[in-house]
Structures are given as structure tokens and as C-alpha cells.
């Protein structure tokens, strides 16, 4: 184990930080700008993945396995969330025959 983490620690932690921040920002922008419901779901997944990567990186650099265990939990939650999200999108498609989120604007003043 020691050698794997030692090898991993050759890459400075900052690089992981920058990379995950970039991924997270792309995910956030995707959620805010895109109108396709499926693309929004994919952006959310992107955000989750960036967090997973960051957690694993921190765990490797601090020699603490707790981070990686937490990644497992997050993956489970992500899977469940995607299942439900896709089910909702299927129902919406059946009723409105469109994947555009701008169609869903009836619950307003």
C-alpha cells in the first residue's frame, strides 16, 4: 500500500484541486444553462464525479482510508438518485412529449 500512495503523491495535490474545481464548475454551468433534462442529469453526475475524485485524492494524500469509504457511499446515493431522476423524466416525457424543462412552468402565480 505504501508504495501506491507514495507513487500517487508524486503529482501535487493542487493539480487535483484545480481539475476537480474545473469539473465542478462545468457541471454547475451545465445545470444552469442547458434546457435538456437528460443533459442536466448528466451535469449533476459530472458534479458528483468531481467530488468523488477529490475525496479519493485527499484520502490518498493524508493516508486516511475514510475518504475512499465515503466515496462508496456517494456512489450508492448517486445510483439511486439517477434511477429516480430518470423515472421522473420518463413520466414527464410521457405527459408532455418533450424533454425541455421550460415546458414545466404551470406551477406559478
Amino acid at each position: 500500500m505504501q508504495t501506491i500512495t507514495q507513487n500517487l503523491q508524486i503529482i501535487p495535490l493542487n493539480y487535483y484541486l484545480y481539475f476537480c474545481s474545473a469539473l465542478f464548475s462545468i457541471g454547475v454551468i451545465g445545470v444552469l444553462i442547458k434546457r435538456n433534462a437528460l443533459v442536466i442529469l448528466m451535469s449533476i453526475e459530472l458534479m458528483i464525479n468531481s467530488i468523488n475524485l477529490l475525496l479519493a485524492a485527499f484520502s490518498a494524500y493524508n493516508n486516511d482510508p475514510a475518504g475512499q469509504i465515503f466515496v462508496f457511499f456517494i456512489m450508492v446515493v448517486a445510483a439511486a438518485e439517477v434511477a429516480i431522476g430518470l423515472a421522473i423524466i420518463v413520466v414527464i416525457f410521457r405527459t408532455t412529449n418533450s424533454l425541455d424543462i421550460d415546458v414545466l412552468n404551470k406551477l406559478k402565480w
Binding site: 454547475v28 445545470v31 444552469l32 434546457r35 442536466i40 424543462i101 421550460d102 414545466l104 412552468n105 404551470k106 406551477l107 406559478k108 402565480w109
Partner: protein
């Protein structure tokens, strides 16, 4: 024995609660037992207390429970049994019981029969609290309670708006007096640190005669008495209070409630003898009331109003007696007055019943043939009030007059005027109502009947009391024992040393002469009344009365009601209108409605946030999270 003292006010209270809560369900026959029955039990218990009165001299105060105990302020709920309160207990329960029995007959056809007896029981309960209280606060509870019952009973036939107005007038004028009473109580507490009679009266002896604080206290308490006992200037409610049923007038406005002021002054006798200026004011007020009410009564045509003004006048008498330190003479007159005034009112009620509601004496006449029992009892009462021996009124009036003469001849002369007026207007009433020819309609004449025995037996009992009641205090020159004076003397013992008499009668001859003078003048006035109203048959119709300036002034009761209306009622109503139109409508309503409008407008603006656009919601969510994170970094 303490249990008996607790039970005395308890039974009327129970009667009130039972009849008040169940007045729709209790049948009239049962009410006829419960209503008077509770008062009868209280009367019997009061008799037991009287028989055992010597047991109470060592421990007169009987405490039921600690009521208010707050730092310096300690007001126990306690009763005081001494000769004075015992006398009042007997009067209230005794005369009260007789009037309750009379009411069974008088109110028999009334729809509010149960309600009437529940109010009457509440009244007796409040009056008992008033006379039995061991401190000024318990007295004040009773004081307010009788004022309330006065309102409830005067406005008993509440569907008539005029009766309601009369009830409001009585209550409001009473309340004005109560303000004085309350202020007096506050001053009492500040000065003596206690409101219990015993504490105050023992401490009061340390004050010098004429100390400013005592004068202020006694004046304020007297303001309360002026309101309650209908003296000048707060007397105009009592003639209007005749709107209530006649038993109410008899009980409340003749025998008991109006005597509460006299009782209060008699109870606080040590305070009053320490304040000679207040005594002077009481004397002047009492004398002015005595004469004013007597003069007005001469020209009245409603039988109950004549009796009302007569009550005001006799109360003036009692206050004059109190003002000269003749406390037990005043209490004696209170007792005899209760007997004959209640009798007068009940007999008047009997007449009104027989005439189907007619109260104008110009439409009466010749009733002595159709209502013999009422006639004879009314005669006894009228003789008693005019002070003819050997009836009770003679002894009590004489006691007062002799006491007045030993202090001041001027007051005695005015009191003599009062005696003459009393004899004149009472016999005017008597002759116009009972003698001569009947002046009403033919159908009323055919309906004339003597009242049922439920109503005449109380009249007979009261007539016996009016006739024999004077024998409880026969003066010494008649070889009497002055029982009542010696009975009450422990209560007034402390104050007797402060009373200075100017004259003293050296022999019995002078005393008999002094007694004969009022008698002679009363007899002259009776003969005058006989001449004018029976032989000459001068009925005062409106034209004769309003022609002459003075007689018009007196007939319109000196326009005092109109003056009060102009000086007090109208400005108050004007102020009330301003408060409504300006303050209420423009400020308060706008404020309260404005808050509601504000909420609605805010809602109208904020609702636009809910756009329904999912992208907008997502944006706000992200924005919010970033804002929280930033705040977190900034603050911590």
C-alpha cells in the same frame, strides 16, 4: 358560633346561584320557597347571633381565610360581629324576608319571576357582606355588589328603554361616589398601613383632632356615602329608580342599600369625630338634602316619586344626626325608617296592583272603602313618619331633634321645617289617595280589590313593627331604659369623649317642652293638609302648578336633572362623538385595517418570485448555496 356567622351570608348566595343558574327549569312554586326561604334562614341565624352577642365582645372578628397577603398589605376575608353589625343584620334579613314574601304575591304573574328572586338574593348577600365585613375592602365588595343589584333590579323590565336608562343612571351615579370611596381607602391604607377596622380605629386615637389626613379621608369616604345614600348632589338617580318593581323600591331604596352610607359613617365614627370640618359638611349637606327633597315632594303627583323624595329627605335627617355625633340616634332612625318606609312602599305597591298600574295620585281617591287593610297600615306608617307618638317615628325623630338642639339652635330650626314638610306631604298623599271620591275611570273603580293575603300579611307585620318599634329606645324621661342606645354604646364609646354639647337640659320639664314643639307643628301641618286636600279637595293640575313661578320651579324639581344634562351629559356625549369620529374612524381603524392591507400588498408583490420556471429555481438554489458558503467564510 363561628359556623353560624359563616352561614349567614352563605344561604342567600346559594339561593342566588341556584335560582340564577336554573331559572329556566325551576318551577315557580319551588322558587317561592327557595327565594324567601334562604333569607328566613339567615334571619333565624341572625337572631341566634343576637341572643349570643355577648360571646362576641372578646373576639368579634371571625376570619374565613387569608385573602390578600402581599408584603405590607394584609387583607383577610373576615367578618366583624358587634352590636352595630348585628343590628344591621337583623334589619337586612328581617325586612328583606318580609319583602320577599310580599314579592311572591306581587310578582306572581311576571315572566321573570325566578330571575327576580335570584337578583334579590344576590342583593341580600351583597348587603350582608357590606354590614358584616371586618375591613373596608369587604365592605367595598358589598358596596359594589348592592350597586350592581340596584342596576339589575331597577332595569328588571328591560324591554322598556326608559327603565334601562334609569338603571344606568343609578349605577353611574353610584360609581361616581365609589371613586371617592376608593380614594378614601387608598389614603386610609397609606396612613394606617392596614384596612382592618380594628387596626385603623386603634391607631386613629393617636391622631390629633382636625388633622388634615383624617379630614381628607373622611371627606372622600363621605363622597362615597353621598352617591350611595342619595344626598346632594348625587340624589337624582333615586326618583328615577322608581322604574323598578315596587318590592325593589322597598328593599333597596328604602330599607337597605341607601342606608349603607349611614352605616359606613357610623362604623367609622372615631374617624369622623376627629374631623370636625367634615362633620360640618355632612351636616350642611344632610340639612340641604332634607329640605330640598321635602320641598320637591310637596308638588309630586306620582305616589312612588313622593315616597322616593321622602326617602332622600329622611336620609338627610340621618346624616344630620351623624354630623352631630348622635350615632345611635341615627341608627335608631335608620331602623324605624326601614320599617315604615318599607311599609309605605309595599302599601303603594298594593294600591298600584289594585289600580292596574296607575301611579298618579290625582287619579286615586276614596280607596279606604275598597282596601281597608292597606288603608289602616298606610295610616300607621304615615303617622309614624310624621312623628306622632307612640309610634316608632316619634321616638327616633325626637332622639335626633333633641341631639341637634343640644348643639345648634339654627340647625334645629331647619330640622323643624323638615318635620313640618314631612308631615304635610305625607298627609297630602294620604288624603288624596284614600279619602274623598275615586277620581279614576269607571272600569278601574269596578276592579278595585284588596290584595291577596300574601301581600297584606307583610303589610300588617310591618305596621306592627312601625307602631311598636320605638319601644326599643324609650328615652329616660319616660322612665325608659334606652335599650338600643346602651346596646350600641360599645361601638360608639371611643368617640363619645370628642363630642361637645352646647346646651344641656337640666330638668325633665324642659325636655318634655322640647319634645312637644315638633309634635305641635306636625299636628298643625296635618290639619292644614286635611283642610286643603280633603275638605277643599285642591288637586294640583298642571295649569295651576305651572302658572306661578315658584310652584313651577318646584314642580319641575328645580330643573336639576336638566342642569346635570347640560353640564355633564352633553359635553360627555360630545366628547364621545369626537372620539368616535376622529380617533376611532380616522386613526385606529386606519391603523388596524392598514396592517391587514400591508400584508396583502406584500403578498401581492412577493408572489411574483414563484415563476414556475425550473431553470430559475435551479439558478436561485445555486446562488443560495454560494451565498451561504461565502457568508460562512466571511463570518468565521
Amino acid at each position: 358560633m363561628n359556623l353560624i356567622v359563616t352561614l349567614i351570608p352563605l344561604f342567600p348566595l346559594l339561593g342566588f346561584l341556584i335560582l340564577g343558574l336554573g331559572f329556566r327549569h325551576i318551577p315557580k312554586k319551588l322558587t317561592s320557597f327557595i327565594g324567601p326561604g334562604t333569607i328566613l334562614i339567615s334571619f333565624i341565624l341572625s337572631l341566634i347571633v343576637l341572643i349570643n352577642i355577648h360571646q362576641f365582645t372578646s373576639s368579634p372578628v371571625h376570619q374565613l381565610f387569608t385573602w390578600i397577603s402581599f408584603g405590607n398589605l394584609n387583607i383577610p376575608f373576615a367578618f366583624l360581629i358587634d352590636p352595630l353589625s348585628c343590628l344591621m343584620l337583623l334589619i337586612v334579613t328581617g325586612v328583606g324576608f318580609i319583602i320577599h314574601v310580599y314579592s311572591i304575591g306581587y310578582m306572581h304573574e311576571d315572566q321573570g319571576y325566578n330571575r327576580f328572586f335570584s337578583y334579590m338574593n344576590l342583593f341580600v348577600f351583597s348587603m350582608l357582606l357590606l354590614v358584616m365585613g371586618a375591613n373596608y375592602v369587604i365592605m367595598f365588595i358589598g358596596w359594589e355588589g348592592v350597586g350592581l343589584c340596584s342596576y339589575l333590579l331597577i332595569g328588571f323590565w328591560f324591554r322598556n328603554q326608559e327603565f334601562n336608562n334609569a338603571a344606568k343612571k343609578a349605577f353611574i351615579m353610584n360609581r361616581i361616589g365609589d371613586l371617592g370611596f376608593l380614594l378614601g381607602m387608598f389614603l386610609l391604607f397609606i396612613t394606617f398601613n392596614s384596612l382592618n377596622y380594628n387596626d385603623i380605629f386603634i391607631q386613629a386615637k393617636n391622631h390629633p383632632v382636625g388633622s388634615g389626613v383624617i379630614i381628607a379621608i373622611t371627606l372622600l369616604l363621605f363622597v362615597g356615602a353621598v352617591g350611595k345614600s342619595a344626598q346632594i348632589p348625587l340624589y337624582t338617580w333615586l326618583p328615577d329608580a322608581m322604574a323598578g318593581p315596587t318590592p325593589v323600591s322597598a328593599l333597596i331604596h328604602a330599607a337597605t342599600m341607601v342606608t349603607a352610607g349611614v352605616y359606613m359613617v357610623a362604623r367609622s365614627n372615631i374617624l369622623y369625630v376627629l374631623a370636625p370640618p367634615t362633620m360640618l359638611i355632612i351636616g350642611i349637606t344632610g340639612m340641604a338634602t332634607l329640605l330640598l327633597a321635602g320641598i320637591i315632594a310637596v308638588y309630586q303627583n306620582d305616589i312612588k316619586k313622593i315616597l322616593a323624595y321622602s326617602t332622600i329627605s329622611q336620609l338627610g335627617y340621618m346624616f344630620v344626626a351623624l354630623s352631630f355625633g348622635a350615632f345611635s340616634a341615627a341608627m335608631f332612625h335608620l331602623t324605624t325608617h326601614a320599617f315604615f318606609k318599607a311599609l309605605l312602599f309595599l302599601a303603594a305597591g298594593s294600591i298600584i296592583h289594585a289600580l292596574g298600574g296607575e301611579q298618579d295620585i290625582r287619579k286615586m281617591g276614596g280607596l279606604k272603602h275598597s282596601m281597608p287593610k292597606t288603608f289602616w297600615t298606610f295610616l300607621i306608617a304615615t303617622l309614624a313618619i310624621s312623628g306622632i307618638p307612640p309610634l316608632s317615628g316619634f321616638f327616633s325623630k325626637d332622639d335626633i331633634l333633641t341631639n341637634i338642639l343640644t348643639h345648634s339652635v339654627t340647625f334645629w330650626v331647619f330640622a323643624m321645617l323638615g318635620v313640618m314638610l314631612t308631615a304635610f306631604y305625607m298627609f297630602r298623599l294620604f288624603f288624596l289617595a284614600f279619602w274623598g271620591k275615586f277620581r279614576g275611570t269607571v272600569e278601574k273603580h269596578d276592579n278595585l280589590h284588596e290584595s291577596s293575603s300574601m301581600m297584606t300579611i307583610p303589610l300588617i307585620i310591618l305596621a306592627v313593627l312601625s307602631a311598636m318599634g320605638g319601644f326599643i329606645n324609650i328615652p329616660l324621661i319616660f322612665n325608659g331604659t334606652e335599650r338600643l342606645n346602651s346596646f350600641l354604646s360599645p361601638v360608639f364609646a371611643d368617640s363619645s369623649s370628642f363630642i361637645h354639647r352646647n346646651y344641656r337640659f337640666t330638668d325633665a320639664y324642659n325636655e318634655v317642652l322640647i319634645m312637644a314643639v315638633p309634635l305641635v307643628f306636625s299636628a298643625i301641618m296635618i290639619i292644614l293638609a286635611l283642610q286643603r286636600f280633603y275638605i277643599d279637595n285642591k288637586i294640583m293640575n298642571d295649569k295651576i302648578v305651572t302658572g306661578n313661578f315658584f310652584s313651577n320651579l318646584i314642580y319641575r324639581r328645580f330643573y336639576i336633572d336638566e342642569i346635570y344634562d347640560f353640564l355633564f351629559v352633553r359635553p360627555f356625549l360630545w366628547l364621545s362623538k369626537i372620539f368616535y369620529n376622529v380617533v376611532e374612524l380616522k386613526f385606529i381603524d386606519r391603523g388596524v385595517n392598514g396592517i391587514g392591507t400591508l400584508v396583502v400588498r406584500m403578498g401581492n408583490t412577493i408572489r411574483y418570485i414563484q415563476t414556475g420556471h425550473v431553470g430559475f429555481y435551479l439558478f436561485i438554489m445555486v446562488f443560495g448555496i454560494i451565498a451561504i458558503l461565502l457568508l460562512n467564510i466571511l463570518i468565521f
